[in-house]
């Protein structure tokens, strides 16, 4: 009898197969955008505004044009001649490419210079003289709606204030009735500070317009090449089939590399005007002050509680600071992303949420920084509010969560805001986490330490998030539904090429997507090449962000492999001389029912597809699949952190950090754990140090890595990982998204731990990041600490 294949050994589902990508990265042979050199290529640098809000009186570029080696000095007025001074955003607003009338944030693009090398191009930028008339500056939503505030977007017809959207969801009346019956109402206000995803590699592009063929090829740092192609076609009014977007290796994305930025557009326009390749590589300050930020939400919310701990209803309001353009990268239907996924993990009968967006003199954005469209913001407020409510009730925070979490038998579970949770074992995850950390013992330790003047604390964060946008009924970006596609071609020798529309930025698609095919066909993963990131050579896909690759493109991959298997079955029937109905599939092989020794391998079927096909059967063994997900996948996590706060300095140290993640079936456990640890580090960063703020003049504080603090190996704590597996019932291989869970759920665990360590002070909130002076001030003066800008200036 033929030996059954060992799926783990051939790199299938559940195999911690080593990464294919590593072979080139380890040798310094990656191909990042800046690594490409094209014949005749010239270099572009951008001149940025030093002021946050000012009218431009004049721009004098004459001296820049005189510098030897300068080929082009592009201004907004010149871009306007090509209808490119402004461009649309992903939220149906507009954003300047190069300023024409005003500058609206510090770092805004004013002009660009193209020269023989970047040094000369920078010299050219310094030779441009801009005359400004400064205007009053707005750096938070409350200033934006204050009486007499200047209208930032006076370019927009009919815009008379600084509000960019209003949105509501849920059952207002039902929620109000539930609040009327509450024994206790627990309130919380806080600010989730502005942050920047800050991949180490900045943005960049090489635009190569061929004036002979009129084909435009753009190498660029994009997480969503196919959407970029559509956007370039719209913005630059070029035929879509004559645009090729190549997204080579990307040095981290985290949502920052989803949008279209002025630098990309300028490099394209300059390449068209000069008819030669134009390279633009952004520097770190340019990246931090002008490309899309994340977070920056002010919340006011309350929970209606019964004495026994049951949550009856929730309502909250969000004021978002959107910067100078409403340019959130989000599905059309939603104005503050999936903020209304907050409180999904809890069985709460009624909910009502409102939101208002504001223009300010800050960089535009609102990208989904390692999350699914504002889900990080949603889960942070949720978990802070849950802890505050437990304290208000005088209830243990773990017990309060256990009481209110959605129970296993309730799935699929409809939330008050309309989401349908697919599956989960929430209590089990919580229990695994509590056992791992030794919850009861820690509480005793905390009490004993408190008696000696030491402050220990424990923070819990339990959350689910909607990953894998999204079904075509509800999810589109710029009118294009959020499906994904895959193409699979099996060659005569049984080796295969898989082409997908999503794009890795370190998640390891080239490794894991092959594993899905291996699971479906039994072709060893080492025999499958995964191609992605080139719009001429891959099928359409919405890109990689919001943890949607595995839920959507991964599903498309499984489905195309099944189509190929269905055809292989016909070939097997032909080879085995029986009817299709009499054939059974086992991994990598078909055999005649009842005669397991009489079979053919998938590789033999592949050869037959090219050399021995039955009459009437089309040759070849390939197919494609478009996958429109029926629902989001809903992973669940319990993150538990213990800390010690030094009351003398406000410094806090992480004692332990336990993560329990249920992301359904794990394709490659090694990579899943890598994603969790990376996300947890970003969570720690948000809680501890990483934020961008502004002074009263709109100067960005956090414009370089000396001010914008990111954790190093020295500060970052160690992580203890645990798993629970609840397969997604609607995903073809039962997988759920995972890349972002820890970054989404993690911050609240750290903050809750510090708040727990000072739970006797009456302090209700310290805004992130919990830098030592904020914690010290809260302890010393027993007051809440707000992180709202403007920060005080130095003098």
């Amino acid at each position: 009898m033929a030996q059954a294949l060992d799926e783990i050994k051939i790199g299938g589902l559940g195999s911690s197969r080593k990464r294919v990508e590593d072979d080139r990265f380890l040798r310094g042979k990656g191909n990042y955008t800046d690594d490409f050199k094209l014949p005749g290529m010239v270099h572009m640098e951008i001149l940025r505004s030093p002021l946050a809000h000012a009218r431009i009186k004049s721009i004098d570029t004459s001296k820049a044009w005189q510098i030897p080696g300068v080929h082009m000095v592009l201004t907004g007025d010149m871009a306007a001649q090509h209808n490119l001074a402004w461009m649309p955003t992903l939220s149906y607003d507009t954003q300047p490419v190069l300023a024409t009338d005003k500058v609206r944030f510090q770092g805004q693009e004013i002009a660009c210079v193209v020269a023989d090398d970047p040094y000369i191009a920078k010299d050219g930028c310094e030779a441009i003289f801009v005359e400004y008339e400064p205007l009053p500056v707005i750096v938070n939503p409350y200033q934006a709606v204050a009486e007499g505030a200047p209208v930032i977007r006076d370019d927009k017809e009919g815009q008379t204030d600084n509000v960019c959207y209003r949105w509501e969801v849920g059952d207002r009346d039902g929620t109000e009735r539930a609040f009327a019956q509450a024994d206790l109402v627990s309130k919380l206000e806080l600010h989730y500070p502005r942050s920047h995803p800050s991949p180490i590699e900045c943005c960049g592009s090489i635009a190569d317009y061929n004036s002979a063929t009129t084909k435009l090829t753009v190498y660029m740092t994009t997480q969503a090449p196919h959407i970029i192609r559509a956007a370039v076609a719209i913005v630059a009014e070029l035929p879509e089939h004559m645009i090729r977007i190549i997204s080579p290796d990307i040095g981290g994305g985290f949502g920052n590399k989803v949008p279209v930025y002025p630098g990309y557009v300028c490099s394209i326009l300059c390449s068209i005007l000069l008819a030669r390749p134009v390279k633009w590589i952004e520097d770190k300050t340019g990246n931090l002050i002008s490309t899309h930020y994340a977070r920056d939400i002010y919340y006011k919310g309350e929970l209606a509680l019964r004495k026994d701990g049951k949550i009856l209803a929730v309502r909250f309001h969000c004021d978002s600071d959107n910067g100078s353009s409403f340019s959130d990268a989000q599905p059309t239907k939603f104005k503050i992303g999936l903020m209304h996924s907050a409180f999904s993990a809890y069985d709460i009968p009624y909910g009502y949420m409102t939101a208002q967006g504001h223009y300010t003199n800050k960089a535009p954005g609102g990208v989904a920084y390692r999350c699914s469209f504002r889900v990080t913001e949603a889960m942070f407020f949720q978990e802070r509010a849950i802890q505050a409510a437990a304290y208000d009730l005088g209830m243990d925070q773990a017990a309060f969560r256990r009481l209110n979490l959605v129970k296993d038998h309730q799935f699929p579970f409809r939330t008050p805001y309309g989401f349908l949770l697919d599956s989960g074992q929430y209590e089990k995850c919580l229990d695994v986490g509590l056992n791992a950390i030794g919850y009861d013992e820690f509480l005793r330790e905390k009490e004993a330490a408190r008696a000696q003047g030491r402050r220990l604390g424990i923070g819990i964060s339990t959350m689910t998030e909607p990953l894998g946008a999204g079904n075509s009924r509800e999810y589109d970006i710029l009118g294009i539904k959020m499906f994904d596609a895959a193409e699979l071609r099996v060659h005569p020798s049984g080796k295969a090429i898989l082409k997908i529309g999503s794009k890795t930025q370190g998640q390891g698609h080239e490794t894991t997507f092959a594993q899905i095919v291996t699971h479906e066909l039994g072709i060893p993963a080492a025999d499958i090449l995964v191609q992605h990131g080139d719009t001429d050579n891959t099928p359409f896909g919405m890109g990689t962000y919001a943890s949607r690759s595995t839920p959507v493109a991964g599903a498309a991959t499984a489905m195309v492999a099944r189509k190929v298997r269905a055809k292989a079955r016909k070939l097997a029937a032909h080879l085995l001389e029986v009817s299709e109905e009499d054939i059974e599939w086992e991994l990598g092989r078909f055999h005649v029912r009842g005669a397991p020794n009489n079979g053919v391998s998938i590789q033999e079927c592949a050869m037959a597809a090219y050399g021995n096909m039955p009459d009437g059967l089309e040759p070849g063994l390939e197919n494609n699949a478009y996958y429109d997900p029926p629902n989001m996948t809903w992973p669940f996590a319990a993150y538990i952190v213990t800390v010690e706060v030094d009351p003398e300095t406000g410094v806090w140290d992480v004692l332990r950090m336990v993560a329990v993640d249920d992301c359904g079936v794990r394709i490659n456990p090694m990579i899943v754990e890598g994603q969790i640890m990376g996300g947890m580090t970003e969570a720690y960063a948000m809680a501890n140090m990483q934020f961008i703020t502004y002074d009263a003049e709109g100067n960005c504080v956090g414009s370089n890595y000396m001010d914008y603090l990111l954790p190093t190996a020295w500060e970052t704590p160690g992580f203890e990982l645990h798993e629970v597996v609840t397969p997604s019932p609607h995903h073809p291989i039962g997988a759920k998204g995972i890349g972002e869970c820890a970054a989404v759920g993690g911050p609240a665990a750290f903050v809750n731990a510090v708040m727990d360590a000072i739970d006797d002070t009456g302090v209700r909130n310290i805004d992130m990041p919990l830098i030592p002076d904020r914690v010290w001030e809260a302890l010393k003066y027993r007051r809440d600490i707000s992180g709202m800008p403007p920060v005080k200036s130095d003098e």
């Binding site: 040798r27 290796d249 370190g506």
Partner: protein, 164 residues
């Protein structure tokens, strides 16, 4: 600006090159020599993705001028291991999943090499301190630390077998 002749040894190979005085070492390696394994991240000596070894010492090549290299030796990721055979540090990063997007990896590995040159048997704390000048946004460092421990062990065992 007038160019200056510099004599340097890059990955064991002597080179004599004319460079503009303000050319950064990182640009010299990437643009003049075509060694694009050394990346550029922050321009402020913080992120460490441009880390190379100069006379065996880890240096951030984005804040050094190429002319400062005259008479010195530089080692980049391209000099680590052979095309056919990975260096134990490279192997360690692969075995322990010490990289994701790969952008910080060359600088990280060169910093690791400097740590292991100085201390063949480092503790986790030694490694974390030694890597504090290199940022990684993907991995959370835990697997990088494991990668270095893996490499250290392999290098020690290889050193042991050579001496026998």
């Amino acid at each position: 600006m007038e160019e200056r002749r510099i004599n340097v040894v890059v990955n064991g190979e002597p080179k004599s090159v004319d460079v503009e005085p303000r050319l950064l070492l990182a640009h010299f390696l990437r643009e003049v020599l075509g060694l694009t394994g050394t990346h550029i991240g922050c321009d402020t000596t913080n992120c460490g993705v441009c880390t190379v070894l100069v006379d065996g010492m880890p240096m951030k090549s984005c804040t050094m001028f190429a002319v400062m290299l005259d008479g010195h030796e530089v080692e980049t990721v391209e000099g680590l291991g052979l095309p056919s055979e990975l260096h134990p540090i490279q192997e360690g990063f692969r075995e322990e999943h010490g990289l994701q997007c790969g952008y910080c990896t060359p600088g990280m590995m060169m910093a690791c090499k400097a740590i292991l040159n100085e201390n063949p048997n480092p503790t986790e704390e030694d490694i974390r301190w030694g890597l504090a000048g290199n940022l990684c946004r993907c991995t959370g460092y835990q697997n990088i630390v494991k990668s270095v421990l893996w490499a250290a062990e392999k290098m020690r065992s290889e050193a042991g077998s050579f001496s026998r």
